[in-house]
């Protein structure tokens, strides 16, 4: 049972293929983080990552003052007091890890997302892949199977590609067929894998184009640990990516930070409950908004009532 005098907060990212849990103390220090791989939106996975994080921190559920969930299964967790979408939490976590970040690229198991962040660390725009798994962790997994190379070896192997091959970035199933055809033609696995990672990068570039390119760019999610994916993305973007030490936990960290807000500055928390009256008062989001002030010269919000 959670108590308001407890000393810790918890963020749980209940993702499509993995679950991540982060525990912070009241000062915002990370005291534990755990990742569990349990397959599609698995309650077991979430439980395992939470139990592991509690154990790491040497505490029990009773020491958790507030828990916030995010990710695909965010509403399925009874322990969570509140949930936010992965867009909001990933942006929060990534900005915490890289405070001047303006663009967050997150490639996870089932989806990829690109989030533009404004100077206040707030999301201004985002784009997510549609139903197709092309350009996500799933895409890499399927192709690892086709090439018969363990997932974690794919990246390093792809980095040794010599011949320039190309495969389609539009559909995971088509890409798999193309990979099999290239192998049947006698192409080297290394070169085929080079093409696979280039396809992920070009697919992601399409998402980036939807929100607009800006720097610095942080990459989070499991695919950020894949050297070849990072390399090809840097190539197509023409800029360096910043990769936090634990790129997979950004969402859970963001959720934990929201939980922390709620116990340390309740005034700013519970946005949902307060927001409508405030927005009505500010008439924000309308072109005639009387509250508007000129934007600072270095701020260019793409949209959103934003920074006036």
């Amino acid at each position: 049972m959670k108590s308001s005098t407890a000393q810790y907060v918890m963020g749980i990212d209940f993702g499509s293929t993995t679950s991540k849990t982060v525990i912070l103390d009241r000062a915002g220090n990370m005291v534990a983080s755990a990742i569990a791989h349990k397959g599609s939106v698995s309650n077991d996975g979430a439980m395992v990552s939470m139990a592991e994080a509690l154990q790491q921190a040497g505490i029990t559920e009773a020491d958790i003052a507030r828990a916030v969930s995010t990710g695909y299964g965010r509403r399925m967790l009874d322990i969570a007091d509140k949930s936010y979408t992965e867009i909001t939490c990933h942006a929060r976590g990534a900005v915490h890890l890289v405070p001047d970040a303006r663009l967050v690229i997150d490639i996870g198991g089932q989806d990829s997302k690109v989030i533009a962040v404004d100077a206040n660390g707030l999301v201004s725009q985002f784009a997510m892949n549609d139903r197709c798994a092309a350009g996500t962790g799933k895409f890499l997994e399927a192709l690892a199977r086709a090439v018969q190379v363990p997932l974690e070896e794919m990246g390093p192997m792809a980095m040794t590609a010599v011949e320039h091959l190309s495969i389609s970035n539009m559909c995971a199933t088509f890409a798999e067929t193309e990979v099999v055809a290239l192998l049947a033609e006698g192409k080297r696995k290394h070169d085929v894998l080079g093409a696979v990672h280039a396809a992920i990068a070009s697919r992601t570039l399409g998402l980036i184009a939807r929100v607009g390119k800006r720097e610095p760019v942080v990459m989070t999610g499991g695919v950020a640990k894949n050297v070849a994916a990072v390399h090809h993305l840097e190539q197509v973007l023409g800029m360096k990516l910043r990769i936090p030490p634990d790129p997979q936990i950004a969402g859970a960290l963001g959720a934990a930070l929201f939980a922390l807000d709620e116990i340390t500055s309740p005034d700013h928390a519970d946005e949902e409950d307060r927001v409508d009256t405030e927005m009505a008062a500010a008439r924000c989001g309308t072109p005639t908004c009387t509250a508007k002030k000129p934007l600072p010269a270095n701020v260019h919000p793409l949209h959103g009532p934003a920074l006036h």
């Binding site: 549609d130 405030e278 927005m279 924000c284 309308t286």
Partner: protein
């Protein structure tokens, strides 16, 4: 009738439009005239003693129609072709096709080929709206439509009959607009689904019956006041020929959005403009055709005096909306042409908006939920941050 009973009557007609039209025909012996959506003046068919029915996208999976039309046509045209192939339109006495986009032309060809025994009247409305000859050409087209209908019923349609139909249709539009006013003002909590059912049923039901139901509904709504809803005020834009899926509308509200206004065809676009009840009725219809494009600009028309993005910015201001969700039917070319300008204008004005591409085949809504929730979170958090800055 209670509010719920009225909405279920709307739902029955809106969700089974062909069945309800067939039942009306059987009960009243009225010929049924099907039409494509967007620009057909139902008043003329009504004045000819027919029941005008705007052909709707069906929720059925597209099967036999697949072989007759490209998969990269919009869901509306593919569904209409599929319905024609399945024999769903066999009971129609006539079909009036306009040519508001290339895809609709392709669909019209297939439907015509599939229904050799049905009277098909094809009309071409001038699409350039601000030329000196636009009004005259629109009038000529409506005259031809009148003649086509007269040929079908075997006698002339009197001007008085057209005037009476115009009056009835104006009443219908005015009643629906009152419903919108109540929602915009927040005195009646009408969901996006209910609003769609109210408008869509008007496209397929007998207008006098629809007016009677609307009047009852308004009497009830105007005599009471609902509790003010909480959430992000959302404006819906887009979707022309087909009604947005009800699941998508429910999802937006389920995620914490309150739909306060729209420019949907199954919404304000359909009811925006009245026809003059004076003078030559055909000229009045031609004037209506040009005027409504200035009221709610249509991407299938070319009009130097109409500017969709400015219209949307203004409409959001009028309804005090905080964010706009654009619903774009996949492969809808007219919408795709205009969207970049809307996106640019909204970004320039710092107005939050989210694009959702919809498909006939769209069934799994969970992926959409994350995008909609994220969007509403963005709007809320940005607005909160601004409110704090204003307070500081």
């Amino acid at each position: 009738m209670s509010r719920d009973a009225i909405f279920s009557a709307f739902e029955h007609a809106a969700e089974q439009p062909l069945e309800s039209a067939r039942a009306w025909k059987q009960a009243h012996g009225t010929p049924v005239v099907g039409s494509f959506p967007m620009h057909f003046p139902g008043e003329l068919a009504h004045a000819a003693g027919c029941l005008p029915v705007i052909l709707q996208e069906s929720q059925e999976p597209i099967t036999v129609g697949h072989g007759m039309i490209y998969p990269f046509y919009c869901g509306y045209t593919r569904s209409v072709v599929d319905q024609a192939c399945k024999g769903d339109y066999d009971f129609l006495d006539a079909i009036m096709f306009g040519d508001h986009c290339v895809q609709v032309l392709g669909a019209a060809d297939v439907v015509r080929a599939k229904l050799p025994n049905t009277r098909v009247h094809f009309y071409q409305l001038i699409s350039s709206m601000s030329d000196p000859w636009s009004l005259g050409r629109a009038r000529e087209t409506f005259l031809l439509l009148r003649e086509g209908l007269e040929e079908m019923i075997g006698h002339p349609i009197a001007d008085d009959a057209i005037h009476a139909s115009i009056q009835l249709f104006n009443q219908n539009r005015a009643l629906l607009r009152r419903l919108y006013d109540l929602r915009r003002a927040g005195t009646a909590n009408i969901t996006a689904k209910q609003m769609q059912l109210a408008v869509k049923s008007s496209m397929v039901m007998d207008k006098a019956s629809h007016n009677a139901l609307l009047q009852q509904l308004l009497d009830e709504l105007e005599s009471s006041s609902d509790r003010q809803q909480r959430g992000v005020r959302v404006y819906l834009s887009g979707h022309f020929c087909q009604a947005p899926k009800l699941g998508v509308l429910d999802l937006i509200e389920d995620c914490g959005g309150i739909v306060v206004d729209d420019d949907l065809y199954h919404g304000t676009r359909y009811i925006s403009t009245d026809v003059s009840e004076q003078g030559d009725p055909i000229s009045a219809l031609a004037e209506w055709y040009l005027a409504r494009n200035l009221k709610v600009p249509c991407p299938t028309r070319v009009d130097q005096n109409a500017d969709w993005e400015n219209y949307l910015l203004k409409a959001m201001e009028n309804s005090n909306a905080q964010g706009m969700i654009v619903l774009m039917a996949k492969f809808c070319e007219p919408h795709m042409y205009y969207y970049p300008e809307i996106k640019e204008a909204f970004e320039r004005h710092n107005m939050p908006h989210l694009l959702i591409e919809t498909e006939h085949e769209l069934t799994a809504l969970e992926g959409l939920r994350t995008r909609i929730e994220s969007f509403l979170e963005v709007v809320k958090r940005q607005a909160n941050a601004q409110a704090r800055r204003v307070a500081a």
